[in-house]
């Protein structure tokens, strides 16, 4: 399936990209599997799961959330607004 992946804040700086269009291989069907797959492809910044949060289609999600073709996924550090 194809997804759009966004990175924000310090994670965007660590990864070196704000946005990626990805074609996910078989077996990568959740946010957690996506994160693990990206770490194997060299995105070490995603390995620290304690400080990683995610959203799917602009809704806060966890790392067991299923992905579908065309989804917009975002990875980011814990939020600091307000």
């Amino acid at each position: 399936m194809k997804i759009k992946l966004l990175y924000f804040a310090s994670l965007r700086e660590a990864v070196g990209a704000a946005e990626e269009q990805l074609d996910l291989p078989e077996g990568v069907a959740t946010t957690g599997q996506l994160r693990d797959w990206l770490v194997t492809r060299g995105k070490q910044a995603l390995a620290n799961t304690r400080n990683l949060r995610c959203a799917v289609n602009q809704d806060l999600a966890d790392f067991n959330t299923s992905l579908a073709d065309g989804d917009e996924v975002a990875f980011f550090p814990p939020v600091t607004g307000g």
């Binding site: 924000f8 310090s10 959203a55 602009q58 814990p78 939020v79 600091t80 607004g81 307000g82």
Partner: protein
């Protein structure tokens, strides 16, 4: 009138103007509670000369709407106004406004605090500070997670029954 107005914007806001708009000659309103968050010039010992607020366009508005919807389910409130600024800010600048109107102060106070506590942990904004040592991203605080968590599970420090 039971309106929600949520704005994510770079421009400043005026508390008096927003409260007057929230009251809007609605004579059911007996209470307006509000909170304003500001940029301080000191954070964790380092001087802050400037701040930049990054956000996730689209998700910020959606997240704030969800938080306000939860407040409406839990308390008997009329109008809610939330303004959160983004972009470059300086010490002393206003960052965020939450204002809530209701018949009685208990619901207004509780809903206002709830919205702020949830905004601090669920709304996709990230602060970057400019300090004498350089730029740094602000770390999330455990106390913010604790503040949000206390609204769950029926044992809350601030929630009061309707009508108080």
């Amino acid at each position: 009138m039971s309106a929600n107005a949520i704005s994510v914007q770079s421009g400043d806001f005026d508390l008096g103007y927003e409260v007057a708009a929230l009251r809007a000659q609605d004579l059911r309103v007996g209470a307006v509670a509000s909170f304003v968050g500001l940029v301080r010039d000191m954070n964790e010992g380092a001087g802050v000369s400037a701040m930049h607020l990054e956000h996730y366009p689209g998700m910020t508005e959606k997240a704030l709407e969800k938080i306000v919807a939860q407040a409406r389910q839990r308390w008997d409130i009329y109008g809610v106004r939330v303004i959160h600024r983004v972009g470059s800010l300086a010490p002393g600048d206003q960052i965020v406004l939450v204002a809530v109107s209701s018949a009685h102060r208990g619901d207004a106070f509780s809903a206002c605090e709830f919205v702020m506590d949830y905004l601090k942990t669920q709304a996709p904004f990230w602060k970057r500070e400019a300090t004498p040592e350089g730029e740094r991203w602000v770390d999330a605080r455990d106390s913010d997670d604790s503040a949000a968590a206390r609204w769950n599970g029926g044992c809350s420090a601030s929630a009061k029954p309707s009508g108080s």
